[in-house]
């Protein structure tokens, strides 16, 4: 039971808005000690898995490329394309991206998009430009649009990738069930991901459609005030 203290520390730490790195280390030390590990052993274990998972941080290598392209006007270019496009709304743009992200992830192309690669330099400025055309002004409104762009990328990735046969989660499921004597082809697992993928598109798509309607209403209301 005592080993659950780590979960309590994590929850409390995030609610109280301590630095997450500090919260994680505190949770690791408390959990390890509750399980009877020596502090030196816990620190060594943290160090070992930090070293073993360095591949996660390799993604930051793309930042120099994105930085270079931004200095040469990538965001401005992305904005001006949307600004010049008739009928481009935030909702339609994000729904289109959602569909594209789900379809490409479903055929295994998970790393062609992502937050450093596409959301920050392309999708977020495009969504912002579309929202400006729809009358969104002010920092708060724009923040929400940018956050929604990042959210749309996550939802497209999560509920597309499991349709691909060779993705990690499918292999994990197959391996775990095999240990229990249940043999399943990856194909059967990926088929069952399709109903949820369609539901994800419908639910998030509906929210995006409502966003467009709300923005249009806001503009109309403002117009009446002014008139």
């Amino acid at each position: 039971m005592m080993v659950l203290i780590g979960i309590v520390i994590i929850a409390a730490g995030f609610v109280l808005r301590f630095n997450p790195l500090l919260v994680v280390v505190a949770a690791a030390l408390a959990t390890g000690m509750a399980a009877g590990m020596a502090p030196v052993a816990i620190i060594a274990m943290l160090g070992k898995s930090f070293n073993d998972t360095r591949y996660i941080s390799v993604i930051w290598l793309v930042l120099p490329v994105i930085g270079m392209l931004e200095a040469r006007g990538l965001q401005e270019r992305a904005r001006s394309i949307i600004a010049g496009m008739k009928g481009a709304t935030t909702g339609r743009l994000l729904a289109g991206y959602l569909l594209l992200r789900q379809l490409t992830a479903a055929v295994g192309l998970t790393s062609i998009a992502g937050h450093p690669q596409t959301v920050r330099p392309l999708l977020a400025p495009m969504a912002e430009a579309a929202a400006e055309k729809q009358g969104v002004t002010g920092e708060d409104g724009k923040e929400r649009i940018k956050a929604l762009a990042a959210a749309t990328d996550n939802i497209g990735l999560f509920f597309g990738e499991d349709i691909f046969l060779a993705i990690g989660s499918i292999l994990l499921m197959k391996g775990l069930l095999e240990q229990e004597g249940i043999s399943i082809e990856p194909f059967h697992l990926s088929v069952w991901a399709i109903p949820t993928a369609i539901s994800a598109f419908l639910i998030h798509g509906f929210r995006l459609w409502r966003l467009d309607r709300k923005l249009a209403k806001d503009v109309a209301a403002k117009g009446e005030d002014a008139g």
Binding site: F14, P20, G67, E143
Partner: protein, 312 residues
């Protein structure tokens, strides 16, 4: 043979570059410089530091972040005119270069399979990604006439934006290792398993799916939650007890876990890192934007398991 080690050396050089550039920037403190230097050390020499040495390195990184060494000050954008000019001059070529990384990663992943022995087979995607970065930098240097220092300077600007969140995904993976060694999953599984017997089929399905989401929120990762919930509820009660279709129970259960991923700061690389990259004031802004999709979708998954895995 090209191995992941080469990619780590490349990343180490990049982080060392960020550290040096920061050192020469008088407007900023040296805390961040030390942070990126330690990360460079980890990339370049991590295998030679030993487990305890790496552990001390982790503690030092955390100490710098906790003492506010990375508190970033927003630097004024000095080059707005230059950017507008670049956008007009280079137009859609900018998009083309942005795609170079993705296309190289794709081509490498597919192509290196046919040339055995050239690259480490298991790490082919990461190695191809690093090759794509080099290719994009070279093309940018020629086509965009980008000065040699520009990628480092502007890459560092973005890196500082991300700040301490850059290593949070690695830290959480390490916490997962400690949780596993301490048997946290077994305890949670036992608690849920004790609560469940006697419940009806729909309640069991709901416990399974909501438990996947909740435990994913705690661990930050559905992969860690899946074996626990499968062993506690999925296998004994849904698959063996009620003869559910194992493929549907497993696949949709995993996706219920993904709904949890959308709602937790523990999934740092999906939720906190983009908030930093997009310069959001609210670090939970991305989570807030995801919750209204995640909750209905979680409910849909409960019903999908109930309908599809248990033919009436």
């Amino acid at each position: 043979m090209i191995t992941l080690q080469w990619v780590y050396v490349f990343a180490g050089i990049a982080f060392a570059g960020f550290a040096l550039l920061r050192l020469f920037d008088k407007r900023l403190g040296i805390g961040a410089s030390a942070f990126w230097a330690l990360l460079a050390l980890s990339m370049l020499a991590g295998d030679r530091l030993g487990d305890f040495g790496n552990g001390l390195l982790v503690l030092a990184l955390v100490a710098i972040a906790a003492l506010g060494g990375l508190k970033h000050r927003t630097l004024p954008i000095e080059d707005a005119a230059e950017r507008a000019e670049g956008a007009a001059r280079f137009g859609n070529r900018l998009f083309g270069i942005a795609l170079v990384i993705a296309l190289t990663a794709l081509a490498g992943t597919l192509g290196f399979k046919h040339v055995p022995g050239l690259v480490e087979a298991k790490q082919v995607t990461l190695i191809s990604l690093a090759l794509g970065v080099i290719l994009a930098l070279l093309i940018g240097h020629v086509v965009l006439r980008a000065p040699a220092m520009m990628p480092l300077r502007d890459g560092r600007r973005l890196m500082d934006q991300v700040g301490w969140a850059a290593i949070l995904p690695q830290m959480l993976a390490s916490l997962g290792a400690i949780f596993a060694a301490a048997g946290v999953g077994d305890v949670v599984g036992r608690l849920i398993g004790e609560a469940a017997p006697g419940a009806g089929l729909f309640t069991l399905v709901a416990i399974y799916a909501l438990g996947m989401a909740a435990f994913t929120m705690v661990m930050g990762n559905a992969f860690a939650a899946f074996p626990v919930m499968m062993a506690a509820v999925g296998l004994p009660m849904l698959i063996h007890g009620h003869h559910g279709n194992p493929a549907a129970v497993a696949a949709i259960g995993m996706l219920a876990g993904f709904c949890g991923t959308l709602m937790t700061p523990m999934a740092a690389n999906f939720n906190l890192v983009p908030a930093a990259l997009l310069e959001l004031k609210d670090r939970n802004g991305v989570i807030r934007a995801q919750v209204p999709t995640a909750i209905p979708l979680l409910a849909v998954n409960v019903f999908l398991i109930w309908w599809l895995a248990f033919p009436k």
